[in-house]
Amino acid sequence: MTTVELLNLASKIVEFRRLAMLLLAECPQNGEYAARPVKALDQVFANGSGVVRYEILGEPDSYVVLRPDGTRYTITQPPADLNEKDFFVERPFTYRGSYVWEKLQKVISELQIYGSTVNDRHGIEVTAHFVESLKNQEITGILVSQQIIAEVIYLYPEVTESRQIALRCSNDCLDKIFQAFRKLQLNGDVAKQEVATFTFFCEHPSPEKLFQVVNSSTAITSFLPITMAGSTNIQRIPINQVEYYLTHPVTFGVDTFIAAIQAAKKLRQHGKSLTREAISCSGVVSFHEHLYTALLSYRAAQTIYEAFMKLNQTIPNLSQLSGLDGNELHRFWVETEEARVSILSSIVFAAVASHRGPNISAPTEFFSYWQMALDGLGKDKTRIGIQDMVIRWVCPEFLRDLAISWLALQSAEFSERLVRRLTSICETLEKDLLKNALQGEPNYLTICYSTLANFYRSNGNLQRLQQFEEKADARYFMCKLHESSSSHLAQEKGE
């Protein structure tokens, strides 16, 4: 395979993963819904202001408000200062489109020419089959997750007898569920329940007792016995709802409540730490992969908070027992909900081109988006918009700084600090050039060099200008790629 063919293959694989991530982040229906065309919303974004009344999942009466100054937010009450006649109304409440799925199928058919090795390595058919089965409601993800958990629990026949064994088993279940989610073999709606449950098990002072509860319960028929290799283990698969353990007569109590709150906090912090890692990434592929995993952690935490919100209605002193009052509970729920919305939007922008947000996977589209913003909003607001992208997890820091540099160049405000930052970005991108190219990363290195060349042109430093003009030539990138690839192959042969 030539270098160019390798690059094409890598970018196709990334496209495949992004589309599949969108369909499996929650479930295929929600992925389609998130990416659906909303004409009224597009119109508001094109106008730069307005209000759209439309359905957000779980919140049928939501208003998206875009103010003339560029700020935007979602509320459930119509803004008091706007008249009903000013609203754009969009009610696609029963959206049944399959736009993302059709795009995914197209990419899969384009990938077929690369043969079975590529298919096996990236699990393309497995993912495609899983998405299709979910979409057609032939299976639910629960069957898949139960199989994964059964395979783990089968290895721990003494899970009800020892705290250490129960902990190890719960941790292994967590690892396998995260792994299946990242490999696009399990969807978020199911994975979040399992992650919430097993994180709770890990935080509980006596997780072995939770497994005992599972096994001793005869009332619940939905618990599957674990059957492997023709023999039936006496273990059962734990029900994947934290609420069940919070209300079960054997486990009901302060320890269980505190363990659940602790589990939610741990998941929230895990999500936060992953998003921080995401924004520090030197590539957009790893940025989205980190966000995708963070999404699962945040949603698992949200599941636990929702269980508490529900129980608050039936257990009056729950906040005292759990040590978490209603306000804090709501505050943490909001944090997880905003994280969910932000990450999902970020994946939508990258998977399906939309002028609702910049597409960081296509450099040309990315800069066109900011050029339009600059023309329409002016320099100061465009700079705020660019900085906002990192806060909203739409792009990693290195791209924000590249875009800020581009903007500074337009307004002749390039500083030494920006030059240092861009130089450092170039060093990182050049160091990771082969790895990034094979991962299907768009080529931002050439753009960084081109920005530096333009800076040196503007300040008349001809020596530096020539140096960076050479590096900004696409041939430099290909030449460096070839060098890295040859050196990598030589190292592999040496080993």
Partner: protein, 170 residues
């Protein structure tokens, strides 16, 4: 070598604070998804609180800097910084134009304090004595603007280290 400006440090703080934006909004504004305005305001408040802690530390005779700067000057810095903090608290994050204008004015005044030659030596001093005062003030500020009490101290420590790193990065 030039010193980082307040604006540059606040930009770094805003990135760090971004994921916490939902903590800082009033209950009625929850699910308000615009992040940078709030992160910039809180970042500015954090930097001002850090500086209050820094000069409180100096004032209480913790370091050698107290003598050099003089008590009156340190007192006047603390007073000015607290006034700036009050000014930041009154800015409305929804009004982007007003926000940009106001924070620019705050940056200008803050730079006037911390970028003077004598003060730069104090600012880049990351001794443990000053650190505890800085963390204390930033923690207090975070709790005041809505950060969960149980997590504020840990967050303040991260932010103080970030400010020190940014100040040393130039």
């Amino acid at each position: 070598m030039s010193q980082s400006t307040s604006e540059e440090i606040v930009n770094a703080l805003a990135t760090e604070i971004g994921p916490d934006a939902s903590y800082f909004r009033a209950e009625s504004e929850r699910l308000y998804l615009s992040g940078i305005e709030i992160a910039t305001l809180i970042g500015t408040g954090v930097l001002l609180s850090f500086c209050v802690g820094l000069f409180e530390g100096v004032k209480k005779g913790v370091t050698k800097h107290a003598e050099k700067l003089g008590e009156d000057l340190v007192d006047s810095f603390v007073k000015r910084l607290k006034t700036l903090l009050e000014r930041v608290s009154s800015i409305k994050p929804h009004k982007t134009d007003e926000l940009l204008h106001e924070v620019d004015a705050v940056y200008h005044e803050l730079d006037g304090i911390v970028l003077s030659q004598d003060v730069v030596e104090v600012v880049v001093d990351n001794s443990s004595e000053l650190y505890s005062y800085e963390v204390q003030e930033v923690t207090r500020y975070l709790q005041q603007v809505g950060f969960p009490e149980g997590e504020a101290l840990e967050r303040a420590e991260i932010l103080v280290v970030l400010i020190q790193r940014e100040w040393h990065s130039c």
